[in-house]
Symmetry: C2
Subunit: 707 residues, 2 copies
């Protein structure tokens, strides 16, 4: 796999100086309940942190933290937990404008250092995912669509400028009430009127109303609307994007001819105002069509496009949506890290039970059960972090080219699509499960709103659905892999893999011959053995799925049905194991770049834990297919049992390297001083009407209600 992460290549003396810099590495309490764990740690949390974020990243992060810590609307967002929905939305919108005005990261910075985008996004997500969603809708989807799909002379460039100047706010509407995943079937129409040189947008019924768009319900002035383009002759030319004015920028009154409304409260992300809108023969100027891949001729009124097929145009238009998927990987990993900070620190402080009733109680982190609930997620979280780091760096250039609407070689685009679509579900589901386990691992106190876990959980929940519903994305991965397999032989994979994630499949013959006679614990946790095994499993599942599909087709099955009926145990498993292999491989590659030091040793243990957990999950297949012998199950279990206490030793220090500052974490259960009870007490007592009577006390006393 190609490795081109920006390296922290600095003179050692400069590194040491940096590690002392309090702006980037605040000093952690030397006493208190967490110090016990910190004192026995073999790793230096600052050195660890510096191994996955460089100086530019640290500086960017520091400036964001500073803003969040010192600016009133950001402070308010962290101090009041139970803000009403309307106030959360207001705050997030005000924060968006504030943040934008700071210009800590913008299009220019992006073009210079695209990988820094992941630091920027992750840090904002650490603060509040609602803010990040508003931001990406405005600056990635809205202006991004114009950058990518405006006709080559940039007739809508002024819209980008106005957005960048904070004069207008954008939204992005692909989804309709009745159509999400099957975006090609959307029913909003844009009919060209050659007389007035306008498009007429129309929404036939509620099911065709645009739905879910962020910033739409109350905030946006403009919107990119995707609609079926019809010419006056009644012909449909497939989907195109349009810039649509929604509200007056000075009064925020919606324009006549459209009905825009509020989707109301959601499971989470309540700082975002998702809305719906329907158009009643709503007219927009002809040049509001995003016309890179097709335009109506001003004179003839005919649709003209360099690309003949509407299906191909659709694919071109949807391709860049992959950018959003990369974000989800970063965001999920960030939310998981946040939850683990709470779960692990709490478990290191919380004591329950002891060897005897007299003996001091033991931190629950000491229990095997508790370790097993938390530490495999710690390993997963770090694995995802390494994957994201790699993927951000190798796709940076392609991202820039996408945004500049420059051509990209199709193999690269396809590989980015395959990898992002495989890993996005894995990341977001790992976060889902890990956050949940942290919640449970904190017992009752984890159920308090102030613990923070409930909010992290519901925010992450959206990651499973938007930017491509997880299950549907996995289908696309397997479809693509099967497509390559069907079109050529396995050798084709090497040609299709500029990033190297598919290359291994071209050795199909050799892979299938390999198998491991494991007889020791050391063998099953060897990183090379694990990677080989995941490679084998990918190849095996690919071939099994291919054959199963061929069989069903041979029996006369229709393509559509065959595809749908080879999902479980076949195509879905294929997509997941491919994604897991890619992540694991990126993790191993990262380890290779580290100098020999305790930090590398520890990360190696985490990679082993991540890897063995994967082997365990797939054990039935590995054994049934004869890849592993019958001892492998117990060996892998034994490996995990042994790794847990080793990983536990440095878990607190590792979390220190991943944790957001206390101010952002905002959880009495997870603060860096481990003073959980003191912080709980303060926060409880500072609440409103904590000890007073209920306002409704007189409604429930005997006299008034019963006699």
């Amino acid at each position: 796999m190609i490795l081109s992460c920006p390296n922290n290549i600095l003179r050692p003396s400069i590194v040491e100086e940096l590690l002392q810099d309090k702006r980037f590495f605040s000093s952690l309490p030397k006493h208190g309940p967490l110090a016990e764990y910190r004192n026995v740690a073999s790793i230096d949390w600052r050195r660890m942190r510096f191994s996955f974020i460089d100086l530019r990243g640290l500086e960017l992060q520091h400036r964001l933290y500073w803003l969040f810590r010192t600016s009133e609307p950001f402070i308010r967002g962290q101090t009041v937990r139970d803000l009403p929905t309307d106030e959360r939305r207001r705050l997030a919108m005000v924060q968006l404008q504030l943040l934008h005005r700071e210009r800590l990261f913008n299009y220019e910075t992006f073009v210079e250092r695209p990988d820094l985008a992941s630091v920027y996004y992750a840090t904002i997500a650490e603060y509040d995912l609602s803010l990040l969603v508003r931001l990406t809708v405005n600056y990635l989807f809205f202006t991004g669509a114009i950058r990518m799909y405006d006709e080559p002379n940039g007739r809508l460039a002024h819209i980008i400028e106005q957005t960048e100047a904070g004069q207008i706010t954008g939204s992005f509407a692909l989804t309709e009430v009745g159509h999400g995943t099957n975006a090609r079937a959307i029913r909003t129409r844009a009919t060209y009127d050659p007389v007035h040189r306008e498009f007429i947008l129309n929404t036939p019924d509620f099911e065709a109303a645009k739905c879910w768009a962020g910033n739409l319900a109350k905030s946006c002035t403009h919107m990119i609307v995707w609609a079926q383009l019809y010419t006056a002759d009644g012909e449909c030319h497939g989907i195109s994007g349009f810039l649509v004015p929604i509200r007056d920028r000075y009064t925020l009154q919606p324009f006549p001819g459209l009905l825009v409304g509020d989707l109301g409260e959601k499971a989470g992300l309540n700082g975002v105002d998702n809305g719906f809108v329907s158009f009643q023969h709503y007219r927009i100027p002809r040049d509001h069509l995003l016309a890179r891949f097709g335009d109506v001729n001003e004179v003839t009124g005919k649709f003209e496009s360099p690309i003949d097929s509407a299906a191909e145009r659709f694919a071109l238009l949807m391709g860049p949506l992959v950018l959003g998927r990369l974000n989800i990987c970063i965001v999920s990993q960030t939310l998981l890290a946040k939850a683990l900070t709470i779960g692990i620190r709490y478990s290191a402080v919380r004591r329950q039970f002891g060897p005897t009733t007299d003996a001091p109680e033991v931190p629950i982190l000491e229990y095997q059960l508790q370790q097993h609930r938390l530490l495999p997620y710690l390993a997963t979280c770090v694995a995802l972090r390494m994957f994201n780091r790699w993927f951000a760096s190798v796709t940076g250039n392609a991202q820039i080219r996408m945004l500049r609407a420059e051509p990209i070689e199709s193999a690269l685009l396809l590989e980015i699509h395959i990898v992002a679509s495989a890993v996005k579900p894995i990341c977001s589901w790992a976060a889902r499960d890990g956050i949940q386990d942290c919640r449970e691992a904190c017992g009752g106190h984890g159920y308090l709103r102030m613990a923070g876990l409930a909010d992290i959980r519901v925010d992450n929940d959206a990651n499973l659905t938007y930017e491509g519903e997880n299950n549907v994305l996995l289908q696309q991965v397997s479809q693509q892999l099967l497509g390559i397999r069907t079109r050529g032989d396995y050798a084709a994979f090497a040609l299709m893999s500029p990033l190297g994630s598919l290359t291994f499949l071209s050795d199909y013959g050799q892979i299938m011959q390999q198998h491991h006679e494991c007889s020791t614990v050391e063998q099953v946790q060897d990183l090379k053995v694990i990677l080989d095994t995941l490679s084998w499993l990918t190849a095996y599942t690919l071939e099994q799925t291919y054959r199963r599909a061929q069989e069903l087709l041979g029996e006369g099955g229709q393509k559509f049905d065959v595809r749908n009926n080879t999902q479980i145990f076949y195509a879905k498993d294929l997509a997941i194991v491919f994604g897991e292999r890619t992540i694991f491989s990126a993790f191993c590659d990262f380890l290779e770049t580290m100098e020999l030091a305790p930090e590398r040793t520890y990360l190696t243990r985490l990679a082993e834990l991540y890897g063995t957990t994967l082997l365990l999950k797939h054990m039935a297949t590995l054994q049934s297919a004869g890849y592993f012998n019958m001892d492998a199950l117990r060996l892998v279990q034994e490996a995990i049992i042994r790794l847990l206490p080793i990983v536990k030793r440095d878990a607190v220090a590792m979390i220190d390297s991943l944790a957001p500052p206390d101010f952002l974490l905002n959880s009495p259960l997870g603060a860096s001083d481990g003073n959980i009870y003191g912080r709980m007490e303060s926060e409880l007592m500072a609440g409103q009407n904590v000890t007073g009577r209920a306002t409704w006390w007189n409604e429930i006393i005997p006299s008034s209600s019963k006699l």
Copy 2:
């Protein structure tokens, strides 16, 4: 296994008449999007429903539904979704009093038909779990503790009467800020003052404050407080319960000498006011001690008890807490059914994609992936329902005896403890995962608050933690099973099993010899084969865990450490597979009692799906240990693949038999007419300020904020 469920033995003509009774079986729409599925169903949903709830149950349910539908506070609870926390609490409290005044089910009814309690609780949970929690705290924990632990003459009987008369409200406090699971280590003190014949309650510090008690923050007048009983000589006699007045019943002002406060917002259950309280040398009369298992002598001031050991007394006191665990099993199953109603009906209506771009789109329930996300949970939900039905009926008598403080044979008590502690985690986790999958299966619309799934999810979340944290309960199960194994040989299990759940283990020798050479799909989905396999797996895991522990003890391990270090892959798996076997067995037994009819056939398919899903989960162990051959994995997968479309055919009808009425379900996505879009639109448009400007519009426009 003993089977003594109340049977619906009625003359067939009466049954037919009943099935036509609109009070119990409302008629479902004959047209509309769900009718397609209803028309092809082989089962009659009413007959199905009547097979697991009898006439008395239907009547009780009907009266509750009527109350919920017609009484203002209940209506309000269902119409406004985003009530502020304080208003939710008020409503739940008012509802509690209303419900209680209706006397639809009380202690007397319970004694007559204890199994009806599960119908009562389940129906209230269908409405709102917060209400049920308030109710069980008040009538099960609070008055229950007095019934069970008051001294034999019942010196506190008037408190029960006052509660029943609605004059006072109770709470129940075992947990402290610093101690939950390890309840024995609580630090609240009750010191006897022989001079004034009073107990002095004292809370040494915030960590020892009572915490989490429901009804405490704002509503209760009295509370059962568990504390370490000290006599004047400074000796500690272990934990006892005390009746403690908290607030004046007419003013609801807290009494001086205690500080009672609010835990604030929680992840869910926000209709319950969980609180904390600390005591400052707070005095209560001597006779407020719950003195069944020990009292202070009025004259000598000495502690006297029929039971010598404080540990044994503690066990006696905690034993009946098992009653709460039964409730969780019922509640989790109910919440899962509610979520599945939404998930399955939505999937039957929602269409996305089709064989070609021109063809009509296909309901997503037709896709294998979607079936696999929902239908195994449908099978699990029904299995749990059958288990609960059985367990409620076989433990009914024991429950009555517990509440009457009558002696119960220890083997029965122990078996109830083992089974309830094994199944409670399985139920609540199944609900957790199933609800989540329903949320995801509904795509973006499932993320709307109005979909209802977000609320179901957070409410169920508490079930994982209270009434015994899941992981800790599983430890207790394995401890008990290992204890029996260690004390005698396997024959002992038959003697310890009045309910029959452990009996199979006495055939250990025979079980271990059995193994299945499966070569057909029919074999692996045979209910007998599955039950045999689960029996084998339980016995195998028990013996493996036992040996592993012996080995570690032999190497000099301390008992405490050995126990903690044999949890994952051993003791925890043991507890879970034992619970799964018990559930599966109850399901199979239920099927035996059904007459041969399409309903039985369909439930058999569900049992097969549940069973094969379990086999798949444990496949690696089954194969590694040589129980199954290498073909078994593919056979079981094939069985599931074939069962899904069969189960799908009747899934809508099956859900009709499990679903609460639309009014209670309260989700546009899951209504019985399948009119999802129409209902979404109405509810959206009926919201507040749906299409208007934000109140904060002027804060985000260019002029005011940027120039």
